[in-house]
């Protein structure tokens, strides 16, 4: 796609004292895609998202969302009209009822879809007259999601949206995301639930320790990451396999396991040149890609 990225950051950094939460992030999120932002707890996902929305000021670096600078309060406010966001802790006002919450939030947006709101209210079985503070955690999560899903924003940013949902709720959420994506909404969501990500995401960003380690389309990842198990007649020399694309090498006696993010063909070729007796190339599921990437770092 040649269209301009919806989210773009350049060397975005956030430090708290001497500890860096986000380090030199160069993120680029394409429009009309579902992009998943993967990382362990504390990897810097929420801090990044908060910087994008102007809740946290970057220590250095810059970024734009929908072409508007995140460090400019005025532009940032303008951007928030077109962006729907649900924070990690599913924030709501305890002193409002469900109905009051919906009325309050909806008044700020011209892209509010009352039909979807009432449909979701029914599907989620949310009692309109109940005070938010007396709702269960699952219901609060659903209400917080409803406030973002009942719009047609240009960009939807969700921070750990499935946290606090049961499997049925998660499935429903993913369906909603897919439906919004079909309407042309760009979706950027953070998660550490690989299973939900690998079905709906077009694009994957893996963040670890504040650094962006992977930024690629999921199809590309699936096609290029390979695990190659090799058996040699004599204990193999690891350095022969330290080539571009090889992320990790493990050897045990005559066996060797190579984990490659690309260039698996070259690994296979070298293995044959070194008279490997067995060469097995296996695709790698996203879960393993994630774990290997994070371990690597």
């Amino acid at each position: 796609m040649t269209s301009t990225p919806v989210i773009q950051t350049r060397d975005l950094t956030k430090s708290y004292g001497s500890a860096a939460a986000v380090r030199g992030l160069n993120l680029s999120v394409e429009p009309n895609c579902i992009t998943a932002f993967l990382g362990q707890n504390g990897a810097g996902k929420s801090t990044t998202i908060k910087m994008l929305l102007g809740l946290v000021r970057p220590s250095s670096g810059e970024g734009t969302v929908l072409g508007m600078r995140i460090t400019d309060a005025e532009e940032n406010r303008e951007m928030r009209r077109k962006v729907a966001y649900v924070a990690e802790n599913k924030p709501l006002y305890g002193y409002m009822t469900v109905e009051q919450t919906i009325r309050f939030v909806s008044s700020f947006y011209t892209d509010w879809r009352a039909d979807i709101a009432s449909k979701l209210l029914n599907e989620y079985k949310l009692p309109p007259q109940r005070k938010v503070k007396s709702l269960s955690k699952g219901m609060r999560t659903k209400l917080a999601l409803l406030l973002a899903l009942a719009r047609r924003p240009e960009l939807l940013i969700l921070d750990e949206p499935s946290e606090g949902l049961d499997p049925v709720g998660i499935e429903h959420l993913l369906q909603m995301l897919v439906a919004l994506a079909a309407d042309g909404v760009t979706i950027f969501f953070s998660s550490h639930q690989i299973a939900e990500v690998e079905r709906v995401a077009d694009h994957i960003c893996i963040l670890d320790n504040g650094r962006l380690l992977v930024n690629a389309s999921l199809d590309e990842l699936r096609q290029s990451y390979r695990r190659i198990d090799l058996v040699f007649p004599v204990p193999p020399p690891e350095r022969e396999f330290q080539i571009v694309g090889v992320e990790r090498i493990e050897s045990k006696g005559h066996e060797m396991r190579v984990f490659a993010s690309k260039n698996a063909e070259a690994v296979v070729e070298r293995a044959h040149n070194l008279n490997a007796v067995s060469v097995e190339v296996a695709p790698v599921a996203l879960r393993e890609i994630f774990l290997e990437t994070v371990k690597e770092n």
């Binding site: 009309n32 895609c33 579902i34 499935e171 993913l174 369906q175 897919v178 439906a179 994506a181 079909a182 299973a195 690998e198 079905r199 709906v200 995401a201 077009d202 999921l218 199809d219 699936r222 096609q223 990451y225 390979r226 698996a264 063909e265 296979v268 070729e269 044959h272 060469v279 097995e280 190339v281 296996a282 695709p283 790698v284 599921a285 996203l286």
Partner: protein, 133 residues
């Protein structure tokens, strides 16, 4: 919809390729007939809970291959041409030959799991097969 699709995330194969293969397979086996209509991108994406881009990519690749005809606003239609039919015959023959081959490999003492991995390796790296010979 008259066909079930089942996409799995555990294999290393992109979802759009899986979908393409399953549509093609359905057309070859006759589960999808010439002129049958496939669900719209949005509907199928919601049903399979995959990104609409996945469905769109599969559809447009299949259109490129001539197996689907995308009509503006009214969806995707299967167009099974003679080529596809003869392909179906080829597949029949290929399966028979594969069955024979698998039988022979088993006789040679290979376990099913080993055979499966060998097939996968060959399919993933066809160039390698040529070079070895």
């Amino acid at each position: 919809m008259n066909v079930f699709f089942k996409l799995t995330t555990t294999t290393g194969q992109p979802l759009y390729l899986q979908l393409m293969q399953q549509i093609r397979h359905a057309a070859e086996t006759g589960a999808l007939q010439d002129g049958d209509q496939l669900p719209g991108i949005r509907t199928l994406a919601e049903e399979l809970v995959v990104s609409p881009n996945t469905v769109a990519k599969a559809y447009s690749e299949l259109e490129h291959d001539g197996l689907l005809e995308l009509r503006q606003g009214s969806g995707a239609f299967v167009c099974v041409k003679r080529r596809t039919r003869s392909l179906a015959d080829h597949v029949q023959v290929a399966r028979r030959r594969l069955r024979d081959l698998v039988e022979r490999l088993r006789e040679d003492g290979l376990l099913d799991e080993e055979i499966r991995r060998a097939f996968e390796a060959e399919l993933l790296y066809p160039a390698e097969t040529v070079r070895k010979q």
